[in-house]
């Protein structure tokens, strides 16, 4: 029959007569009601009787019993978990890794949504031959435009001359430059 493990020391002290009056009454009342602890008490008592029958232990005269026990207790070390064991215990805790996993997933989603993840293309210039460009020429975004959200040219068409698409180095501002034909230039 299983006994109350939390009361093992107190039952042992009860057997040795080392409890205070209040604790003694408490344990005695518990033993009256707990069959498991009653059996445990009988086992302890039996072991103690065997020891008393076969072992005679008397301290030599002049030995300080209290000092002796203090020395014994000071040499008892309770093993502490290592740093890695404590870290592992904390990392494995769901309260830590689940939010971390969720946050990492959110950051990964932001990365793939952001234009930065798109493949960069070199700066391009679109040259449109006159006289008429029926279909507008689409312009690929430049690396600067993709790295930082900038205004950009989506398409361009010109009936009055060639067109160049440029970008300022400092701010990345797009520039459309129309190079008029000689006929157009003569009109000014």
């Amino acid at each position: 029959m299983k006994h109350c493990e939390k009361l093992e020391q107190k039952i042992s002290a009860y057997l040795d007569g080392e409890l205070s009056d209040a604790e003694y009454d408490e344990i005695e009342a518990h033993l009256d009601s707990c069959a498991g602890c009653q059996e445990y008490y009988r086992e302890l008592e039996s072991a103690q009787n065997i020891l008393r029958q076969n072992v005679s232990f008397e301290l030599p005269p002049g030995v300080d019993k209290d000092r002796m026990w203090r020395n014994i207790e000071s040499q008892i070390t309770i093993p502490q978990p290592s740093f890695w064991e404590r870290l592992k215990k904390k990392v494995v805790m769901p309260a830590v890794w689940v939010p971390a996993a969720v946050a990492s997933a959110a950051v990964a989603m932001l990365f793939f949504i952001s234009p930065v993840s798109k493949e960069m293309s070199p700066i391009q210039t679109a040259s449109v031959e006159p006289p008429v460009q029926e279909d507008p020429v689409s312009v690929e975004p430049t690396p600067m435009e993709q790295a930082v959200q900038l205004s950009r040219i989506e398409s361009v068409s010109s009936q009055s001359g060639q067109v160049m698409v440029l970008q300022t180095a400092s701010t990345g501002q797009p520039i459309i430059w129309i190079i008029p034909t000689k006929e157009e230039g003569a009109k000014s």
Partner: protein, 151 residues
């Protein structure tokens, strides 16, 4: 039970974070378009209002003078158009085609004597701008700075 509550809190936080990224475009309905009509030439002076333009364009274009000819502003809702007179024969026509994620799609056309000579579609970020230049204008070159602000 406690862990389930934590999961819900984190999921809600992430959802709000992702939603906030699209808030600027979702909240804006109109595009306020600013048009600076500028004459650029090689001998003139720089209008103080255009000093930033000189700094930006000098590495690319060889112009010494920038004169602000006209400055106008118009607010467009989706599919709305507007026109700005650039000169006697030249007109700028704008058509706001709506928001595309965090950018505003704006079609820009230049018409000369009522006939289309140039067309482009630009994607403007909030408070972003593009430059269109090159056509001859009163002894210099026409330069248009078109900016957009989400409203």
């Amino acid at each position: 039970m406690k862990n389930l509550t934590l999961y819900k809190v984190y999921l809600l936080g992430i959802t709000l974070l992702l939603t906030s990224l699209t808030m600027p475009a979702l909240a804006a309905e109109n595009l306020q378009v600013g048009i600076d009509v500028i004459k650029a030439d090689r001998v003139g002076t720089v209008d103080p209002q255009l000093n930033d333009l000189l700094d930006e364009l000098s590495p690319i274009l060889n112009f010494a003078g920038f004169t602000l000819v006209k400055k106008s502003m118009t607010t467009l809702s989706a599919t709305q158009t507007d026109e700005v007179r650039l000169s006697e024969e030249r007109t700028l026509k704008l058509e706001f085609q709506g928001f595309d994620e965090n950018q505003a799609r704006l079609q820009v056309m230049i018409l000369e004597k009522g006939k289309e000579t140039f067309r482009t579609v630009v994607l403007l970020v909030d408070n972003g701008s593009v430059l269109i230049g090159g056509p001859p204008h009163e002894g210099g070159v026409l330069l248009l700075r078109i900016s957009g602000e989400f409203k």
